[in-house]
């Protein structure tokens, strides 16, 4: 493998972003080929990187030839290579759904949308492989600013939701910056490995604890951990569907990954979990409350996409609780759940985008008769629903199983109860959707579709539906080998 490959994974979408913007002004036909070509190259390259890292172990790349700790390092260990592959493949699959959707929603401005889209993808890829704390802040802000722009391009209430997101998101990023500032004040270096080697001598100082708190709260704002989740439902509901398809599966999960990075690579697990007694239990209690409240809020929603956003908030509760359970099972479950949750959210948002493309409706009561009109979409939605409830053999069952085992092993019964409660609530939520979708449309149907002919989505939107359905099942069926070969190496040593 060429040792430059990790950077090329980042560089392809970035260069394509500028090309799409320039060439898109001349003719709109250039947008789709450049976007798809660069994202495919990235996806293939990131898979290559993942296989290589699993075989040969951790790999660091210095940018510009300036040696660490003075220069910026990219760190590729199995966990970050796995996240890199996840980000690039989800981005590629989501683009197939975004292209027709954006062409319908904002004709004539696709080149602007997709240049922001590609910069967002390359920013997220950089976020998962960077090994420098301040570089993380820069990339975090790059992804956030492009997300603000993408969400604000929607109609109706989108600019207001985006403005809310700007205010709250900037607070989160500034807290992260404060945390990094305190760490620099303590240790004098910004390289994550270097901080980790200098910090243990300074664990008693209150500055280290303050830095940890600021870093954690900043990332909790970014990942929408209840009760800091206020920006998420409005932002994801009113965003253009093409933006929701990319941002919803990835942004919060990448922030969870950053939290894992900080706990395991900068501070050590002993400090975070055992250092200040009782913090761990508090956080797991908070996660359990988050899961319960978010599930209850999801029950109250009439809009399909808003319901999905509250499900995302609940899933973030699973992830935070899983990490802070502080045992092997919990962490395996959390990492596996990051993978599964991205795919499930991708499935839901692609289906919602397909439904919005064909019918323009997004309230649940307007989904009547959809099973006949859009069978492929509803099949994908079925598989996704089974996965989120946790029915074998879909992948959601296995990651929930690990989380439950971890909760039992750690004695955190409230977390176990919250997980079971949330599965039941998800079952109710999706039963409601399917009940409406199965029923016949009334006379004078509200869906403007003739007869009983199926009116499926355009050809370009079919690959993501198929790929996601197959992936949810395949990952579930191969959960054993996957955990043994890949995820076991991804867990930082406990």
């Amino acid at each position: 493998m060429n040792h430059n490959l990790p950077v090329l994974v980042l560089a392809f979408p970035l260069l394509a972003a500028f090309a799409v913007n320039l060439l898109g002004k001349i003719s709109k036909k250039h947008v789709a080929p450049w976007t798809l070509a660069s994202l495919s190259l990235s996806a293939v390259a990131s898979s290559w990187v993942l296989m290589d890292v699993l075989q040969t172990g951790k790999f660091t790349y210095t940018v510009g030839g300036w040696m660490a700790p003075y220069g910026i390092e990219l760190v590729l260990d199995p966990l970050s290579a796995l996240m890199l592959a996840l980000v690039s493949w989800v981005a590629l699959v989501a683009t197939f759904s975004a292209l027709p959707s954006i062409k319908q929603e904002m004709p004539g401005r696709e080149h602007l949308f997709f240049s922001l889209y590609l910069i967002l993808v390359s920013g997220m890829m950089g976020l998962v492989i960077t090994g420098d704390a301040f570089n993380l802040y820069v990339l975090l802000e790059i992804t956030s600013i492009t997300t603000y722009g993408l969400i604000a391009m929607g109609k109706g209430r989108a600019p207001l939701s985006s403005f809310n997101y700007i205010i709250v998101g900037t607070i989160g990023a500034c807290f992260y910056l404060l945390g990094v500032g305190y760490l620099y004040l303590l240790t004098g270096t910004l390289n994550m490995a270097d901080i980790a080697s200098r910090l243990p001598a300074l664990y008693e100082s209150p500055t280290a604890a303050t830095a940890f708190c600021f870093l954690m709260v900043g990332l909790w704002i970014k990942m929408a951990f209840f009760p800091l989740h206020g920006w998420l439902p409005n932002a994801y509901t009113h965003a253009p569907k093409g933006a929701g398809v990319l941002v919803a599966p990835l942004m919060t999960k990448v922030s969870v990954f950053l939290m894992i990075r900080i706990i395991f690579s900068i501070y050590s697990p002993e400090y975070a979990f055992l250092g200040h007694a009782g913090i761990k239990n508090l956080v797991v209690w908070a996660a359990a409350i988050a899961i319960v409240c978010a599930s209850l809020l999801a029950l109250a929603q009439k809009d399909f996409v808003k319901m999905l956003s509250y499900i995302i908030v609940a899933e973030v509760g699973y992830l935070v609780g899983g990490v802070w359970l502080a045992n092997q099972q919990g962490l395996t479950g959390a990492i596996f759940h990051v993978l599964n949750d991205s795919l499930m959210t991708l499935c839901f948002f692609v289906a919602a985008s397909a439904i919005a493309y064909r019918t323009g409706k997004s309230r649940i009561e307007d989904f009547r008769g959809l099973f006949k009109k859009m069978p492929l979409t509803m099949l994908a939605l079925c598989v996704g629903a089974l996965s989120v409830v946790g029915v074998p053999p879909t992948c959601g069952f296995f990651s929930k199983w690990f989380l439950l085992l971890g909760g039992v092993q750690a004695g955190q019964w409230e977390f176990v109860a919250a997980l079971i409660f949330s599965s039941l609530v998800n079952a109710v939520l999706f039963y409601r959707v399917f009940e409406v979708a199965f029923s016949q449309p009334e006379e004078g149907a509200s869906l403007e579709l003739e007869g009983s002919r199926t009116l499926e989505v355009p050809a370009m939107m079919i690959p993501p539906l198929v790929v996601v359905t197959v992936a949810l099942l395949a990952i579930g069926l191969s959960a054993g080998p996957l955990v043994r070969e890949v995820i076991r190496f991804a867990i930082p040593s406990l």
């Binding site: 600013i145 603000y148 607070i171 620099y184 004040l185």
Partner: protein, 130 residues
Amino acid sequence: MDGWLAEIIGKFNYWVYVVLMMTGFYAMIRKNNLVKKLLGMNIFQTAIILLYISMGSKVGGKIPILDKQQALEGAVQVAGVVNPLPHVLMLTAIVVSVSVTGVALAVVLRIYKEYGTIDEDQILERIGKS
């Protein structure tokens, strides 16, 4: 009493930054006008920038611009020179702050075109009515 006074006066620049940060934070939360919220966000980010800059300062420190002759002779005393790294980091943070302000102002422009007002209470009223 002596300990308290030493804490406040000895670290009085940090107290100033804390006051600035809380002012910006208060403005972001409490003010109704969207542009005033943006100003609060800017004040908050500026306070953090000031915190970083004061991290690198030293009592009696020299400016971190080297004289070529001195550097070649090797007569530079690094411990007596102000640390330039926080300054460079804050340049990046200033760029980020400017970008976020630019995006936020463009979004406020769109909100104004849509609702005709930039007061949050009035916007929520108009959404509630429609």
